[in-house]
Amino acid sequence: MTIKHKKEEDIILSVKNIVNHFGKQTVHKGVNFDVVRGEILGIVGGSGSGKSVLLKTMTGLHNPNKGKVLIDGKSIQDIASFESASLLGVLFQEGALFSSLNVEQNIMLPLREYTSLKEAEQRKLAELKLAMVGMELNTATKYPAELSGGMAKRVALARALAMDPLILFLDEPTAGLDPINATGFDELIRNLNESLGVTIVMVTHDLNTLFTICDRVAVLVDKTIIINTIPNLLEQDHPWIQEFFHGPRGQGALVAAKHYARSANGNR
C-alpha cells in the first residue's frame, strides 16, 4: 500500500472539516482526513469521543453541523438512493438484518430493488456473496433469529457487499465474537479487501484487528483526528495515544501481531 502518493483520483473518501455539536456539547471540531482507494482504515477513540457520530456522518445517516463528506468525489448528501448501495455498504454492530426476511432475501433486497436482474441471477449472486463470507449454502433459507451472533455478522457483511460497493464501513466488526471467530473475521475482511479491492473503514476497539489488518489508524482525540500508520502512531507523544498503544492490552496485541506476521510469512 503506497499511502504517500495521494493523487486526487486515488482518494475514495474525503472528510472535510466536519463539525458536530449536540446542544452545547461539541463532539467534533473540524475533522479532516482522506481515505485512499483499497486501504483498510481503523478508527479508534475513547468512549464518548464521537466514533459512532463520525461513522453516521460518513455514511450519510447524520447531517453534520458544518463540513462535508465526499465519496468517490460526490457529496454524501447528494448521492441518489439507487447509487448509494453501489457506492457504500455498512455493517452495523448487531448486524441489523431484517428479521422478517430470510438470509437470502436479506442479501437480495438491494439487488431486487436497484437492478434488472432476473430472480435466478439475483439468487446466484446472493449465494456467491454468502460463500464469499464463508457461510454454508444451507443457511440461505434460515431467518436471522435462527443465526448465532457470528453468523449474523457474516450474513450482514454479505448484505453490505450485495451491490459490490466501493467502500465498506464496519462498526465494531469483531465485538461479541469469540477469539477464533474474531480472527477468522479479520482474515475475511483482509481477503475481501484484497480480492474485491473494496476500501474498508472500520470503527474498532479490537487491538488485534488494528495491528494485524489495518493499513492506517485514525485516532479521535481532543474532538479532532490524528491519522497515521501504526509505527508512526507508536511514536506520538499524545497521552491518550500513548496509553492506548502502550498499555498492557496494546503491548500484548503488538507482540501477538508480530508473532502472527512471522508465522504467516514462515508458512508462505
Binding site: 453501489s86 428479521s99 446466484k124 449465494e127 456467491l128 433469529a145 459490490d164 484484497e194
Partner: protein, 370 residues
C-alpha cells in the same frame, strides 16, 4: 452510472470487452455476449485487457461463459487485480440451490387451512393449562399475602383502570345515545315511546356495559400486556429475572391479573352509569321525559338481577383477557416480528373468547331464570 461506457466488440474469434463489467452493465453485457457467442460458435477467446472495473456480478458472468457446456470460452489478458476476484468466484462451487419448489397455490391454501385447524387443539390445551397454573399461583400467593406486589398492582390499576376512565365513559355514552335514538325512532310511531327507557336500561345493564368495557380493555390493556411481556422476553429480561431467582409469573403476571380483576368490574359500573346517563339525555331531548320521570321508569324496568347479570360477567372477562394477554407475551420468541404477531393474536383471541363467553352466559341465565 457516470462510468465509461461498456463496449463489446467481436473480431472473428476474439471478443474484446472495454469499460466496466459490473452489476450495472450485467444485463447488457450478458445479452451481447450470449448473442455473439451463440450466433455461429466461432468465438473462442475473450480479451479482458481493457476492462476498467470487474465486480462479483461480472466475474460470475465470465465464470458462466468459461463453463458453458457448449463451446466454452477462454479468457485472456486479465489484470492481476481482476484475476484474483475471478479466481475467487471461479473456486466457489455453488452447486444446487437449497430452494424448495413452491407448491401450487390451491395446495398451499388447503395446507394452511389444515394446519390452522390442527392448531386449535394445542392452543386450547395451552390456554387451559396456563389458566390452571394461574389459579395455582393465585392460591399460593393468597397463602402468603406478602408475596403480592402491592406497588406493582397499584401501578397496573392506574394504567388499566384510571387512565381508561375517559375513553370508556365516552364510548358507553355514545353507544347508549345511538341505541336510544334508534329505539325511540322505532317505538314512537307505535305510541310506546316510554319503552325506550326499558330498552336502554335493560340492554346497558345486562349486556352493553360489560361487553363494551371488556372489548375496550382487551384492545387497550390485553395488547399492552402481550407487548410489554413480549419485549421483555426479546430483551432477555425474563431470563434475567429467572437467573436472579424471581418467578416471572409472580412478578409480572399476577399483578396484572389482580389489577384487571379489580378494575374491570369498576369500569363496568362506570359504563353502566354513563349508559343510563346517555339514555337520559335522549329521553330529555326527544321523548319529552324529565329526569325524575326517567329515573322512576327505569327503576320499574330493571331489577337488581339485571345489574347483577352484567356485573357477574366482569371478573370472568377480566380473567380471560389477562390470561390471554400474558400467555401470548410469554410465547414471544426471538424477533421483533414475533411481538407484533403475538399481540395481534392475543387481542383477536381475547375479544373472541369474551363474545363466546357472553353468549354462553346468556343461555345459562335464560335457563336459570335470571
Amino acid at each position: 452510472m457516470p462510468h465509461l461506457e461498456l463496449c463489446i466488440e467481436r473480431d472473428d474469434t476474439r471478443i474484446r470487452i472495454r469499460g466496466p463489467l459490473d452489476l450495472h452493465h450485467f444485463h447488457h453485457a450478458k445479452e451481447i455476449l450470449q448473442h455473439m457467442h451463440g450466433a455461429d460458435n466461432k468465438a473462442t477467446i475473450i480479451d479482458l485487457s481493457e476492462v476498467t472495473r470487474l465486480d462479483t456480478a461480472g466475474a460470475l458472468l465470465l465464470h458462466n461463459l468459461c463453463n458453458a457446456t457448449k463451446q466454452p470460452l477462454a479468457l485472456e489478458n486479465f489484470s492481476a487485480k481482476h484475476k484474483v476476484l475471478f479466481d475467487l468466484v471461479d473456486q466457489i462451487n455453488l452447486g444446487k440451490s437449497p430452494i424448495k419448489k413452491r407448491l401450487s397455490s390451491w395446495i398451499r391454501t388447503v395446507t394452511r387451512v389444515g394446519k390452522a385447524t390442527m392448531d386449535i387443539w394445542p392452543a386450547t390445551f395451552e390456554l387451559i393449562s396456563f389458566m390452571g397454573l394461574s389459579w395455582l399461583m393465585l392460591i399460593k400467593a393468597l397463602k402468603h399475602p406478602t408475596r403480592f406486589r402491592f406497588i406493582s398492582i397499584t401501578h397496573q390499576i392506574e394504567a388499566i383502570g384510571i387512565n381508561a376512565v375517559p375513553i370508556i365513559s365516552l364510548i358507553a355514552l355514545v353507544i347508549s345515545i345511538v341505541l336510544a335514538y334508534q329505539g325511540q325512532a322505532q317505538l314512537k310511531p307505535l305510541g310506546m315511546k316510554q319503552y325506550t327507557v326499558d330498552l336502554i336500561a335493560i340492554s346497558v345493564l345486562r349486556e352493553m356495559g360489560v361487553l363494551l368495557t371488556a372489548i375496550m380493555v382487551a384492545g387497550r390493556s390485553g395488547s399492552a400486556f402481550t407487548a410489554e411481556i413480549g419485549t421483555m422476553k426479546v430483551r432477555q429480561e425474563i431470563d434475567a429475572l429467572r437467573s436472579m431467582g424471581f418467578d416471572p409469573f409472580e412478578l409480572l403476571i399476577l399483578p396484572r391479573l389482580i389489577a384487571l380483576l379489580v378494575v374491570l368490574p369498576l369500569l363496568t359500573l362506570l359504563a353502566d352509569i354513563m349508559g343510563l346517563f346517555g339514555g337520559a339525555l335522549i329521553s330529555l331531548s326527544l321523548i319529552d321525559m324529565a329526569l325524575p320521570e326517567y329515573l322512576e321508569r327505569a327503576r320499574h324496568a330493571i331489577t337488581g338481577k339485571d345489574f347483577l347479570v352484567g356485573m357477574i360477567k366482569a371478573p370472568v372477562f377480566a380473567f380471560v383477557i389477562a390470561q390471554v394477554g400474558c400467555m401470548h407475551g410469554l410465547k414471544v420468541s426471538g424477533s421483533s416480528e414475533s411481538v407484533g404477531k403475538e399481540t395481534t393474536t392475543s387481542v383477536v383471541k381475547s375479544i373472541f373468547l369474551v363474545l363466546i363467553l357472553d353468549g354462553l352466559f346468556s343461555i345459562y341465565f335464560q335457563k336459570v331464570g335470571l
